[in-house]
Every structure is written in C-alpha cells, then in structure tokens.
C-alpha cells in the first residue's frame, strides 16, 4: 500500500505544499494540518497536485475551507499541476472554475510573485 506524504517549502512569497499520493477521507486530515501550519507563516499558498493520484470530495472540503480562510485574511490559495484524470472531482463539483489553477508549479510561482509585487507585498 503506497503512502500519502506531504511536504511544505517556502518559495519566495508563497508556501508550496506538495502532495504525493492519494487525498481521501483518511489522508486529507494530513492536508488540513499542513495547510494550517502553512498559514501560520504565509498568506499565499500553492498546492502542488502534480503527483496526486486521487482526490475525493472530503479533500476538496479541506481545500475549500483553507481557500476561504486565506481569502478572508487577504491571501490566496492556488492549485498547480492538477491532472484531470486523477483530480476529476475538481471539475465535477465546479471547483475548478472557482479556484486559481496553474498548469505547472513554476507557472504558479511566477504568477504569485508578480501578484505579490503588484500588491506591494
């Protein structure tokens, strides 16, 4: 049984949370903890989903909860690298139309850095 593991790394203005494996009702509390910690230091968070193999609606609820909290605090939450086939629930639920999605993490970092500069940090 493959494990799900997460890492968080500060990249410029953003905290990048990278998820490897599956996000489901059993593993999404890990994401919840990780995002709570990330918000302690950053108000710009990018979730790198490029190595996510499965995403259920309980994980979506965690993502939406943190997205709303960050927005309320003047921050942002964006997704990078989500692959349709493995994260299709984002599209079925309509969340893909509401969240900021970047093709790749690099694209997301560049866009977030630009946004941070224009916001005067």
């Amino acid at each position: 049984v493959e494990e799900t593991w997460l890492s968080a790394e500060s990249r410029g203005d953003s905290m990048v949370v990278t998820i490897h494996g599956d996000l489901d009702i059993v593993t999404s509390p890990q994401l919840d903890d990780c995002l709570t910690r990330a918000q302690g230091t950053h108000n710009r968070v990018i979730l790198d989903l490029s190595d996510v193999d499965f995403l259920d609606t309980s994980a979506l609820a965690v993502i939406v909860g943190h997205w709303k909290k960050l927005e309320a605090a003047g921050g942002t939450l964006a997704l990078a690298g989500a692959r349709y086939r493995y994260t299709k629930t984002l599209w079925i639920t309509g969340l893909a139309d509401k969240l900021t999605l970047y093709e790749t993490l690099d694209e997301g970092l560049a866009a977030q850095a630009k946004a941070a500069r224009s916001a005067g940090r």
Binding site: V1, D22, T27, D56, T57, K88, T89, T93, L95, K98
Partner: protein, 311 residues
C-alpha cells in the same frame, strides 16, 4: 389534433399528468407553460429528445423563454433530474418557477423505473420546501404499479381528461420508501471486500473489477471515484465497517456499498453544493453525476447504495 387546452392548471406544487397520447400531452404541457408565463414564472422542461421535439411547436407558440434539458443527453440516471430542478429554482433567487419533467418512460428497465418513483417522492419533498411547481408526465400505458406510485407521490393528477386531487396521495413522500421493491440479492459469484479506512485497497479492488469488465479508462476512473465517495460516506456516517460487493451483468458493472448508517437527509446528493462552500456533503451528488443508475435503500437497519455503470 387539438387536445384539451381549456384544462385548468392545478394550483399545487407537484402534479402528475397521465396522458393517453402525445397530443394530450402537448396540449396539457402547453397550458402549464403558458400559465407560468402569464405570471412571469421561468419554465424548465426536462425530457427526452423525442419528447422535447413533440413539445417544441407548442412551446414556440407559448411566448416567453423556456429552458429545455435533454434527459437523453444528460444521461440515463433518473437521479439527475431533481438536481436540475433544484438548481433551476436556486438560479432564480427564490422566485416562483415551474418545471415539466418526464422521467418514467415505457422502455425503461424496472430498476430505473423504481428509482424514478423514489425520485418522485423526493421531488415532492423538494417542492414543499421551495417556490416550485413541477408537472410530471406519465404515459397512461406505463405499468399499473408505476401509475399507482405516481398517484401517491403527486397531490394532483390529470387522468381521464380532468384534473383531480389524488385520493391516494400520501402527503409524506417518505412513506413511499418502504414500498420500494427490495434490491435483488447479488449473485453468488459476486466479489466482496470489507472496508473501513482501507480506502486505497477499496480503489484498487474497484479499478481491477472495472477493467476486467471492459470499461474504458475514463469510466474506470469514474467508477473508482464513485466507490471512493460511497465508502468515504460510511466512515463519515456509520459506526462500523461496510461491505463492498461488485458483479457484472451482460450490460453493466454493479457496485454495492452497504453499511450500518442511516441517511439522515433523503435529499442528500440532489443539489450541487456551492463550490465555494467548505462544508462536506458533495459525495452523493458526484456519484449521481457519473453513474448510470444509483439505487438507495436506507433505514434503521442501515444503508445500501447500489450503483450501475454500463459496460
């Protein structure tokens, strides 16, 4: 053929039109749509392609805008119609709206018709909770059990040329549920897996069976998503492990998820949640969007959800 255009439109929320032929059907629906337009109500018509075409001429002449939803294009699952109706109501900010739907048709298999009858009971609940009028069309040549269920789930019925309040209307839609035919027992050779927090194993099990049944890759993904959502619901709502059972027929792969929990809200999964709402409860809705049929039986003894995917 001119139908009965003089039909008074029932002033109730949930009405059944048992029609003898397409002319009567079209005339009654035109009257219903026109009455809505006179009061400025938006109208949704959800039906199959041929039915929409039969209505088109009459609706074009009816005046104001009518939104149509092709149930053939939206897929077979009878569980999607209520979602469309509730979404249509939600999109109109609490203003009174009216909908026409035909989800029971003669060529439907028995299990789809049973589910359609359960959906009618749910529509009756939804109607009592929203500014919503729904007219449901029934071919008079449908089986007697279907028509009897329609008389129970609709407070007004058009039959034999006139509207009347239905003497067998239950009032409480939930009362229909115990009458639903029980689901046939899975075949002896069905594969089973007990589950409780072994989500990864559940997904592998479902994917292996979906591939063995010959489902294309994107449908394998859909089935894994659906089974993942249902088994996650067990963790969220039941107090102990559940059982996943999978088998195939010539036409379908069928997955059954059974646990000890009871569904508290019968309308769960019938309205798309606001994507920006952090609350839980999207699972069953997602399942309804990707499966061809979702049968639900729930009660104090537990919940069984059986989903069907065509091969």
């Amino acid at each position: 053929v001119k139908g009965p255009p003089e039909l008074p439109v029932p002033a109730v929320g949930h009405a059944a039109l048992i029609y003898l032929d397409r002319a009567e059907f079209a005339a009654a629906i035109r009257g219903f749509v026109q009455a809505g337009e006179e009061t400025g109500e938006a109208v949704l018509v959800a039906a199959r392609t041929d039915c929409l075409q039969a209505l088109q001429a009459g609706l074009d002449g009816a005046g104001g805008p009518v939104t149509t939803a092709d149930l053939a294009a939206a897929g077979a699952n009878p569980g999607r119609v209520l979602g469309m109706i509730r979404q249509f109501a939600a999109d109109h900010d609490g203003k009174q709206v009216r909908c026409v739907q035909e989800l029971a048709w003669r060529s439907r298999p028995a299990n789809e018709l049973s589910e359609a009858m359960r959906q009618e009971a749910l529509i009756d609940m939804a109607v009592s909770a929203a500014p919503l009028t729904v007219l449901c069309a029934y071919d008079a040549q449908l089986g007697t059990s279907v028509l009897e269920a329609a008389r129970r789930s609709h407070s007004a019925v058009f039959e034999n040329g006139r509207w009347q309040s239905s003497p067998s209307y239950d009032g409480s839609s939930i009362a229909l549920w115990p009458d639903l035919p029980s689901l046939p027992v899975p075949p002896a050779g069905a594969a089973t897996l007990g589950y409780w927090r072994n989500q990864s194993e559940v997904r592998t099990f479902a994917a292996d069976h979906a591939r063995a049944a010959g489902l294309p890759a994107d449908r394998v993904t859909d089935l894994v998503i659906a089974v993942g959502e249902l088994t996650a619901n067990t963790l969220a709502h039941a107090t102990g492990p559940g059982t996943l059972t999978i088998w195939t027929t010539d036409a379908e792969i069928i997955c059954q998820v059974q646990d000890s929990g009871q569904m508290a809200d019968p309308l769960a999964g019938t309205l798309r949640a606001d994507p920006a709402s952090p609350r839980h409860g999207r699972g069953l809705w997602v399942v309804n969007q990707i499966c061809d049929l979702v049968e639900v039986r729930t009660g104090p003894d537990g919940t069984t959800v059986r989903l069907h995917m065509r091969r």
